[in-house]
Symmetry: D2
């Protein structure tokens, strides 16, 4: 996807994409559409954008969809699109969590590749079942743990793999926000409403919405397995039905130790996702809100500021970089990279060609791990913060 | 363009866009295409991507253009597209500077809206002539001074206008880079090659390539007129034919004083565009490389960190914001905003509708001012750093 | 101690100070002497600077002490100085931890005020015994939890007290270092040697040396009581006899939750003490390595940068500020503030005058709490990370 | 002055110090006393602290001076102290600028070493005359350009000298403040009062008070000579009698170009002294308000964060460092270093010993250069911003 090839979507044949969810008032649907569009690998042609029919139609019209391909339900969409000659090849699932499993299953059964938001499902049982289905289908299944799309996160992962940090000892990861400091869900705000509703979110609130991103990021970068966790899920806001703050201690298989903090009630934090990793030979530090810099310290030497696309950037980062260093890329670009990587896999599947081994995106396996993490955290906390195996 | 309306390109009818320049090995062409695509207001359908015919064809193919609409010259493209029923409605000019004027003129004459890279032309005479042509045509003419697309830059401008800073006294603006610290143009690097060539760049090197961005940004935000400048243009690298560092002192009509520094030879600076403005009631500070924060100090009170989309963000910033605060937007988003604003003007022209007065983008007037600035700087420096009227 | 009164040491009569420990090769002794000198409230006149007699003499000479007041042991010093007409009024104990209790006791018994480094003792039993002795004596007993001397830490504390943050919910405190990433103690480095030796340090390594500072700082600022902790003490470096990394989850009496991380093996961290506190109404963030700034966010409003001595600084901070804002004060100034505050208490005791209630310094009660924390952490970790009452 | 020797003042025999100015309500006097005390090389024994007799007495008493050595005028002090057996060996001159020359001269004539605040005098003529006197006397004459005391500034200077930056091309130095944004002098505030009074400050306001610090810092670090300047001195506040903002372009003898900005009317800037230097091989960046970090970029490599006392610190910085890296030193420590370096010179003079060539402090030559700079800036500005030789 380096600068030259950024536009090859056009030449390579754009992938026909549908979407479930993401209609009026949604947030993440618009992000997915923009991400799909950025590198020109997809063309958005069909949607079941809302469970409310009029809303679905209105949303489709607002997005320029052909009204005949604006569906009232994902079941209808899956069933009709599979029969169209130019039916969708891939679908983006951007509904509240509880719909991820049924919608994904419907499209897998229809032979359509799936790009699903996280967390994968609301229970581990469902997640495992969905994975079995996906594996059987042979289709591409991408879960949008979008922070893995940042160039310097990929470079950080490569540095760990190549041993630049030595053996990893300590992992500090956190994702604080402040938007739920007050009971926003009681005002009818749509995002707050479903995210604090166990029926739609699952058993995890903060831990499921953002804790799982933090967990995934740490795992993606370090490549280490967490074996046990000790979690405290707290609900600070009166009347809220799910946790809004979580502290977790992590034990890794290799003996490393970690801490994860996620919060929705920490005033002054917007989306403060932050990762720090320390090993026998060095350490590094990265923040999502200024993501074009990686602070890397080889032990005993000065800290280096590695920049996206700049001096010290490696091929693995350059591959997913669009513009020169010093010009910031952000959240949407990283999200788009996930879509672009998935496009490569979808094309390879479609065309029967070999997939470039450099292509990297979170799969259903990552999705299952995320749900396992959420369930273990809920279980640990329910037992008073007991150490719990993953 | 707020979250909801981000995708209205589809519904509103995408604008058919062509491009001059931006073929293989180019940098800014890919940026323009991505910017045009981001909010879905354009569809890219034709190009004269290179002056070398084979390159033009190869570039068009790589971008998925219809070979019949891949042209060998901009003249051919202007002449044919005007006659097509679904010919381009707008063209992006992304060639080296010396081609801006003739290409723009050709498309204006063909009744096609123009989005042109900066600096507008290589001489002020040409710029004025082009402006006359544009005015006569009644077409939209946008010059991509892209930094005016950042939400917090728009908020900063609004703060000055509404008097939050009081009367402006001091303006410090700078744009340091380091990529030309060594004679890169002698290695054949394409970007360095034409940017250091007076025949293609015009009389200004660093001052024309980035000094003009700094100048435009300061003017956009403060709304103040510079009346006189004192400039030192220096060429530090042996054999280089244009300036690679520029120091300028600025006198404003209202009595304010300013300093502008641009450099291509300042190691450690990637794209360090930075603006600081101080008035009788307060001051602020903004950097392009971490553009989601505006440091604002009402005199006598603590400095506030205003964030894009966050607490303290105003409607004028919200209007051009895509994602929640704490998730960084960057260079491409700001660039896309210019395209999206221009799209609104193009649609209003096409449909004969009233243009939302909030729509803001740099026009040919800004382009002319930029060229006037470059010429004045060159003149001042040639006279040994003499104060020179603008 | 505001600017005007900074020098009142001279006028008020300097306090005669002795020191135990702090001879050749020591680190913290020199810091204590400088801190005592800074505001001119003490005159350094006697020392038992080393347990090795020749070293004690050499160190005393190097510091300009009268050789007759350079002692070979603290017992000798306590016993002689108490009988001198101009004997020391206060003593600074800056030995390795295991000597704190016996040395402090000796001087208390001699009627001499004590300023003792932290942790107070190596066991809680000893700490309680020493406290009883101190209480009985009526003497001043200051424990140098020096980070409580920073002006903005005092302001932060005042903000919590006055309710600006509302009810506290989350506390994140950390103190990472990297100097023990490799087995430095095996090279004979004096600081590493005793700090990793249980006989001299006590049962806590990292947790005792710096974890206790982090714990004290959080408690000082929030005023909240920790009721239970869950601790993981890890020794990463082979052959090391004490922990070099500690993760702790904290439960507060009011229902707040916290996390404490301290490490000596985190490359890139020099002395990264950092405190973040979040409540129902706001949050703030402070770092020791750039301590003149407090990032404060009233929920729903922009983050404010409160500066030491600048706009937004309160009287409680101004009282312990020496120079104008924008001129950085640092570690030594904060340390000196502890000495200066203790001087006020010592003078009040000496002169029988009323102590200004604004005077604030860590006492033996804080010291006892620190030791209780260390013991609880060691106990929790020994039980596999079990929740443990404090 | 490394950690071990920090206290050698005691052993080496403290230097008896007097002070002119610095009584009640003064700012910089207290800083000088603290700086003199920090490393224990001086003992403060006499003062002519105010021109108002009662104030002088009261100030002396408040500082614990012997009333017989609290003088009503500097003349009296110079004349009496020279005859005392234990009279002062050195004097600190901390009056408003116009008194520097007569007071310095009086003490030089009395055979007493001088430590004088900057600017040296109010006219270049006076400065040259004073230099002649100082040279003839053979006494130590230190001018407190205190920012040269920062460890990383010394390291930066050494880096330039050793060629790590290659040939210097660009120097950007600035010192913005905001405290005079409004007419504070009209409120009777003492600091503002004399600093805006030509009779006491000399012909330069902002340029003399802080511009001269910026100028000195750039010269100290780069070692380059400025040959010509083009200056704009502006008075923004109505009724103010001296400049409160200054923009200057600098031409260096080696062809380098620079810009200097100093302001007292830039809201949000407390003491924002900042230096950036760029050469053919690299560049660096340093700020006074967070002075323990030097951002150094070898061209084409990642930026390194050099820390005071940390990895990458050199001996020249270590020599003037008191505490470990990560524990911040600040303004007072840097100021104290100037005093400590001067003490070495005074002792060498007193004892007839060889002065360690590493000892570095600003002398009367630096003071004269500073005054020459001020005069040239005033002259250039008076001629409408004409290029003016230094």
């Amino acid at each position: 996807m380096a600068i030259e090839g950024k536009d090859d979507g056009g030449a390579g044949g754009r992938i026909r994409l549908g979407m479930v969810g993401g209609g009026e008032g949604a947030f993440i649907g618009a992000v997915h559409r923009l991400a799909a569009r950025m590198d020109d690998h997809y063309t958005f042609v069909a949607g079941a954008l809302s469970a409310t029919p009029e809303k679905a139609l209105r949303s489709g019209a607002a997005l320029g969809l052909d009204p005949r391909r604006t569906y009232g339900s994902f079941e209808e969409m899956a069933s009709r699109e599979r029969r169209l000659k130019d039916g969708i090849e891939a679908v983006a699932i951007v509904t509240p969590n509880h719909m991820h499993a049924p919608a994904s299953a419907a499209f897998l059964k229809a032979g359509i590749h799936v790009i699903c938001d996280k967390p994968l499902t609301t229970t581990l049982k469902e997640a495992n079942k969905l994975r079995a289905l996906a594996q059987k289908s042979g289709l591409v299944f991408c879960v949008t743990h979008n922070y893995t799309g940042f160039p310097l996160i990929r470079q950080a992962r490569e540095m760990v793999r190549s041993g630049e940090l030595g053996e990893i000892r300590v992992v500090q990861v956190e994702y604080p926000q402040d938007w739920l400091t007050e009971p926003l869900e009681q005002t009818g705000q749509k995002q707050a409403d479903w995210r604090t509703d166990p029926a739609r979110s699952g058993a995890g609130g903060c831990v499921g919405d953002i804790g799982t991103h933090a967990y995934n990021l740490a795992e993606f970068v370090t490549g280490l397995d967490v074996t046990e966790i000790c979690a405290e899920l707290t609900t600070f806001v009166n009347g809220r039905r799910l946790d809004d703050n979580v502290q977790i201690m992590l034990r890794y298989a290799n003996g490393a130790r970690g801490a994860l903090w996620a919060s929705q009630v920490a005033p002054g934090n917007e989306n403060g996702l932050q990762l720090r990793v320390y090993g026998t030979k060095g350490g590094f530090h990265w923040r999502q809100d200024n993501p074009n810099y990686l602070f890397y310290t080889p032990f005993g030497k000065p800290t280096q500021i590695l920049t996206r696309g700049g001096a010290g950037a490696t091929a693995v980062a350059g591959r997913v970089t669009r513009i020169p260093s010093g010009h910031p890329e952000g959240y949407l670009e990283a999200f788009a990279t996930i879509y672009t990587e998935a496009a490569a896999a979808i094309r390879a599947a479609r065309d029967g060609t070999r997939l470039d081994p450099a292509v990297t995106f979170p799969t259903i396996d990552d999705g299952v791990k995320g749900v396992a993490f959420i369930e273990a955290a809920v279980r640990s906390s329910a037992k008073g913060g007991a150490w719990t195996k993953l």
